[in-house]
Homo-oligomer: 394 residues x 2
């Protein structure tokens, strides 16, 4: 694994989490870099979201501070001041200004940050920051909350003779809904991008990856996806075919990383991969896919290894998209269950076994002859999810 | 309990259900009566839905046949033919014509009806039909599927010197979503209504009752609400103030009956009563209430007795309605948890205990100073719900 040039990473214990696990991460650059973001659409949102929105996209980024264990959301004016202090502290440590610093927070809602611990944590983190894989891994561990393990993805590609590296980390296992960058994710690269290009690319990538995942469909207050581009791998910003190639690779990495979130969904025993084709438009296909993904009955059926086509087809039927019932066909794990509006004579035992034998369940729904298509990834709904979310208290 | 004049009811075992429980019900009139319906908006829908849509509203109704245990949905041309045969059989038994007969089906999707059993059942049911409370109860039992007990509501009111009686039955415990008459319900009355008035009244009543309930938000293929008015209590159709009084009473009965559905939601340990006020419009308030009601995280919090205002407030925030975060206030079981965008210093132990001590949990959200308001009733999400829906196979 080769990390992108131009970044230092760090992850430390700042005693924000009661568990004592690592909970403060930094990503800093020596030189000004490009940063773009995609943020939660929730009206109830964290101070950090408004802060980042105001300063991205930018070509003047110098540092990112992330705390886990406390979302700093619904915390009023004090929360806004605390968020600003986090930016100011990191800026002071690296000879930057506040508006060169992005901030991300994740964890419980409605509690004030323990700012003494946060400030000490930033000081400690900058002391230990470095550019090795171990430093990257420390950062990726320090952003987690209810995740079972770190979520990372790496790649490197050659574009017009330059080696470009991408290293990405994400967190998220619950309160995951498909309405804009539903988690925290930070993608670093040493490609050079101007600010507006970075923002455009990131929006398109988000709509093909992080916006198409869900656990229970609950859009959080703190969701954010950041793209940080140091430009150290090349002299001029990417454009034309080179930019297209880069975007393709970035999309691939983003999907790889995004799928890890529902795979680690609270209590999940299956990753459900939903593909909808034949809709009038991509937007229609997306609405159908999300309706299936958000159906508790569909999720429970997969949990139980039940090839319950009725729940899948009816979830497509009630989502408000105009489709013809007699044009709907369904494959599950490659088996045809439903064709042109009526069930086929499939062997339920074989299909059931195919669900039970694999962590991934493949749902392919065709709704007609249109060009619209969409993919969505979600977790199943288990007894463990309900136990966890009945017992976990904010 | 006095039943409306002019109806006979019946409920029998027709061996459609594997369990051998009663599964075929009739409601018949001697004289032509008014019938109106509100039906599922799901594009994937049962043969019975299209049948009833074609013949209601009508002033020429003579009979209703309901079967449980088989939804006759996604059954193609044979399903349509079977539905027609059900109507024809009942018509033959009571000297009516097919188009005077409504049909309702509920149960598993995608299987053909055992028509020999259905036809024998109709013959047996007409033999035993009667107008006593025992007959009404037999019918209300024969329409159930996963319900734990019959759901009925009765009333009688005096309007302009006439005694008017209402007797209503419903079924439904799963696949309950708030997008049009989400279950089977049959309301009989001896009020006299013309067909178009009956249809208008029923639409308004549905939007204040059955359209505001949910279990997991999954709109079924077979939902239907029928209003059957024999007119036997009076000579002329209701109008003016008399009609308003009748509609008020019908709304009260419909809400009473509708609330029994999420109260009996699969695995439910709480009925969650959500009231949203202060929105710009009623439609906005409804969208917010449904977003809260459909949040698995909110439902799990109530299951666990957790006064988790963060999940409630953020569900309001992501539903797409334009509200101001600093105008949101929340009461739970009468305790103020959140005011003007920030949490209050409430005693979590006391509020938690109030959730645990009562089957009903009262959620009151105010989102501003507007006139829009809405109510919604839903069940919580429990381990038992997931167990049931992972193990129950279509």
């Amino acid at each position: 694994m080769q990390l992108p040039l131009g970044f230092r990473y760090s992850g430390v214990r700042a005693n924000i989490k009661k568990s004592g696990l690592p909970d403060l991460a930094l990503v800093v650059t020596e030189e000004p870099a490009t940063a773009a973001g995609v943020y939660t659409q929730n009206i109830v949102r964290a101070a950090s979201i408004d802060w980042n929105r105001a300063i991205t996209p930018t070509e003047n980024f110098r540092g990112l501070v992330v705390n886990a264990g406390n979302a700093n959301a619904c915390t009023g004016a004090q929360g806004v001041a605390d968020n600003q202090q986090m930016a100011a502290e990191l800026a002071r440590q690296i000879d930057a200004t506040e508006n060169q610093i992005c901030v991300l927070s994740t964890g419980v809602i409605g509690h004030l940050l323990p700012m003494r611990n946060v400030v000490s944590g930033i000081e400690a983190a900058i002391q230990t920051a470095g550019d090795s894989p171990a430093h990257f891994d420390a950062a990726s561990s320090a952003i987690l909350t209810t995740d079972q393990s770190p979520k990372v993805a790496h790649s490197s590609i050659e574009i017009s003779g330059s080696e470009i590296r991408i290293a990405a980390m994400a967190k998220g296992a619950g309160m995951i809904g498909p309405n804009m960058a539903t988690m925290l994710a930070v993608v670093t690269t040493d490609a050079r991008l101007d600010a507006s290009t970075a923002a455009d690319v990131l929006n398109r990538v988000a709509n093909r990856s992080f916006n198409n995942i869900s656990v229970e469909g609950h859009t959080s207050t703190n969701d954010a996806l950041l793209l940080l581009a140091s430009g150290q791998a090349m002299a001029s910003p990417l454009s034309g075919l080179d930019l297209e190639n880069f975007e393709g690779e970035l999309t691939r990495i983003a999907i790889e990383l995004a799928k890890k979130i529902p795979s680690d969904g609270e209590g999940a025993t299956h990753l459900i991969c939903i593909s909808v084709t034949g809709a009038a438009t991509d937007a229609d296909a997306t609405r159908i896919a999300k309706s299936i993904a958000n159906s508790a009955l569909v999720k429970c059926a997969i949990t139980g290894g039940d090839p319950n086509w009725g729940r899948i087809v009816s979830a497509a039927g009630y989502c408000g998209v105009e489709i013809q019932a007699n044009e709907i066909s369904l494959h599950l794990n490659g088996h045809e269950l439903f064709r042109d509006g009526t069930p086929t004579a499939f062997d339920a035992a074989i299909v059931s076994q195919s669900i039970k034998d694999s962590f991934e369940t493949d749902v392919q729904l065709s709704v007609g002859g249109g060009p619209g298509r969409s993919q969505h990834w979600t977790s199943d709904l288990t007894v463990a999810y309900v136990r966890f979310n009945s017992e976990y208290t904010t």
